[in-house]
């Protein structure tokens, strides 16, 4: 049993970004009914708050607080930055998306902020109880965000499905946590790791069951096969800005937990769970890339593409090395830019009463709107992993890490499936450039979406041409590999 923790200011200082976000969330709830007429106040407040939090995260010092429950290190900081960048994009996309979909909720921004708070807690969680509570804080906020379009049947279905499946996955995760606690006698990840290191895990089926259940719960949250079934329906039904958010930020936060639980907690028995993760990664890449081929809705296609990308990102966790972890982190950061860019185009094309989510709506886009088509081309190239875009750098470093760790078979499969993915990404490009336009596409530009598109473009090209800064930042984030 650890020394009883007595509250100190140092712990509070470590959690400064989280505390700030909670205050911001409460402020947003109040601002909504104090100034109901102000349309731009809430997004402006949210954006300022997120940028301040980003500053607090970057300026904060490393350390362990709250009696070993809360840890700020390179890993936590990096994933917090990814989550916050994803949120910046979401806020930029929200204004336009909310107008088009007719959503007028002040709670939108406060729920978004609470979801991000949960993610930051997850990234810093060094104890399984904190992991679980951070995850619940995040999930609960997102269930509500998905269901905010109350008069849209699709959104109702999505929210209901996500809620029921998510609650079930949380229960499975909690079951796993309780088994691990029962066997290790502690929920602290470092202590669990020390406990397990001396044991022969293969002869303890209950420990394996606990790890397995934990893995199932986390794989649901990142959307890895075979726990991905909720993804397409929820992505399609949710407001597009929230879909974009869900495909980036919660995934990054869940990967932070996955990395910390698997690599900080269970690294001593890496070879035992690596088989499982290899199978999951392989299945996820296959399911995502193959089913994406037959999609006709761009939102569903991007949903399956996000499943496939989770499969790639899992390769770094599978490797179980410093190199693998930093490759996963890089990849999620790059993925935030390219995916947000693609969703920004989807949002910009939608008009009131016209969703324009079918792939056919992209026919001839290059003729009517060359600028937008060129950007979509860039994002599709990056999602495929074609150099010199950032997507190539990300995928390349992941595959290298997995090869160095000795998982050549999985890497070969990943490369082949990556070639499959070229078909459905480049099909969008073909529709845009080689087909005749179907009907006029007057695209009303919005300042927020334009900034988001610019930011995504700079990210995809900049990280592709000069990735060294990002790579060095991610490689500093080691969590003490032996």
């Amino acid at each position: 049993m650890a020394e009883p923790f007595v509250f100190d200011v140092a712990s509070l200082a470590l959690a400064a970004p989280e505390c700030f976000l909670v205050a911001l969330g409460v402020l947003l709830v109040c601002a909504e009914f104090l100034f109901p007429g102000q349309r731009l106040l809430l997004p402006a407040l949210t954006m300022t708050g997120i940028l301040t939090t980003l500053g607090l995260v970057l300026a904060g010092s490393a350390g362990i607080g709250f009696g070993g429950m809360f840890q700020v290190d390179g890993l936590a900081r990096f994933f917090k930055v990814v989550c916050l960048v994803g949120t910046v994009f979401t806020v930029l996309l929200s204004q336009r998306n909310r107008q088009v979909e007719g959503m007028r909720h002040g709670e939108y921004y406060s729920l978004l902020i609470f979801a991000v708070t949960g993610m930051l807690v997850m990234a810093s969680a060094a104890d399984l109880i904190v992991v679980y509570l951070g995850l619940e804080l995040m999930s609960l906020s997102i269930y509500c965000l998905v269901g905010l379009l109350k008069h849209d049947l699709r959104a109702n279905e999505a929210a209901m499905k996500y809620f029921i499946m998510g609650a079930f996955a949380s229960a499975v995760l909690l079951y796993g946590i309780s088994l691990v606690y029962g066997l290790a006698g502690t929920t602290n990840l470092a202590a669990v790791s020390a406990q397990i290191a001396g044991r022969d895990a293969a002869s303890e089926p209950l420990l394996l069951a606990g790890i397995g259940l934990l893995l199932v719960g986390l794989c649901f949250k990142v959307g890895a096969a075979p726990f991905h079934q909720w993804t397409p329906d929820v992505y399609e039904g949710a407001p597009t800005a929230i879909t974009a958010f869900m495909s980036v930020a919660p995934k990054a936060a869940s990967f932070a937990v996955l990395a910390r639980v698997m690599l900080a907690g269970f690294l001593p028995i890496h070879e035992v769970w690596a088989v499982l993760v290899a199978g999951i990664a392989l299945l996820t890449m296959t399911v995502g890339n193959v089913i994406a081929l037959s999609q006709t809705s761009i939102k569903r296609m991007l949903a399956y593409s996000s499943i496939a990308h989770v499969g790639y990102a899992l390769l770094g966790v599978l490797a179980g090395t410093e190199e693998g972890l930093s490759a996963t982190m890089n990849y999620l950061f790059i993925y935030a830019f390219m995916n947000m860019g693609a969703f920004a185009v989807v949002i910009l094309l939608a008009e009131k009463g016209q969703r324009r989510e079918s792939l056919d709506d992209y026919r001839g886009l290059a003729a009517s709107n060359p600028m937008l088509a060129a950007l979509m081309l860039l994002f599709m190239f990056s999602l495929t992993g074609i150099p010199p875009t950032a997507g190539f750098i990300g995928k390349f470093s992941l595959l290298m890490a997995a090869v160095h760790a000795g998982y050549t078979g999985v890497v070969v499969a990943a490369v082949m499936l990556s070639a499959v993915s070229a078909y459905f990404y480049l099909r969008v490009v073909r529709y845009m450039y080689m087909d005749a336009p179907a009907g006029g596409k007057d695209v009303g530009l919005s300042a927020g979406v334009a900034v988001a598109l610019g930011l995504a473009m700079v990210g995809v090209i900049g990280l592709g041409v000069a990735p060294s800064a990002l790579v060095s930042l991610a490689s500093q984030a080691g969590i003490g590999f032996p």
């Binding site: 650890a2 009883p4 923790f5 729920l111 804080l137 609960l140 509500c144 029962g182 303890e204």
Partner: protein, 174 residues
């Protein structure tokens, strides 16, 4: 040796399993909820035999008292007669049964093989001790749980409140 605690445990364990099994197989939600209520009371009984009086009280008040009543409210809001006759939401009955059975067998095998150290039952476990732990060792989880409840309130409000825009649109139609 058949001692009283063992007999009590056997009674509670058998009842819990039986009631839980009965609850998930009922088609009528009211019956299921009432069976779950009885199961919660038996779980409180197990906590009592372990010397965790506070946990037993919380189990009665929070689960049996508050949560079950909430379930009943939800059940009352649903049109029961139609609901009982309607098709199942998910039509994979045999598959899910198979998966559940396999999971059960795997876990049962694991539990049978596990060597778990029984925690020291003489450790202080009163309300005072619990409160001290909650505000020292578990301060951070406690605070996060508070924020989770806040989100539940805000989210519930956002989802349950009538849309101002939608209301005006409806009035215009009238």
């Amino acid at each position: 040796m058949l001692t009283l605690p063992k007999i009590l445990f056997a009674y509670f364990a058998v009842m819990i399993l039986g009631l839980a099994g009965a609850a998930v197989t009922r088609r009528n939600p009211v019956h299921a909820v009432l069976l779950v209520l009885a199961m919660f009371l038996h779980m409180a009984g197990i906590y009592l035999t372990l010397g965790a009086e506070f946990l037993a009280a919380v189990q009665m008040i929070v689960y049996a008292g508050a949560i079950l009543v909430l379930y009943l409210f939800v059940v009352f809001l649903v049109d029961l007669r139609r609901e009982v006759q309607s098709e199942r939401f998910v039509d994979w009955h045999s598959n899910s049964f198979l998966v559940a059975l396999l999971l059960f067998l795997a876990l049962a095998y694991g539990v049978g093989r596990a060597q778990v150290e029984v925690p020291d039952a003489t450790a202080p476990a009163g309300v005072l001790h619990l409160g001290v732990e909650l505000f020292t060792t578990y301060l951070l989880p406690f605070e996060i749980a508070g924020i989770v409840l806040l989100v539940a309130v805000v989210g519930g409000m956002a989802l349950a409140r009538r849309d101002r825009a939608a209301t005006t649109a409806e009035e215009e139609v009238r």
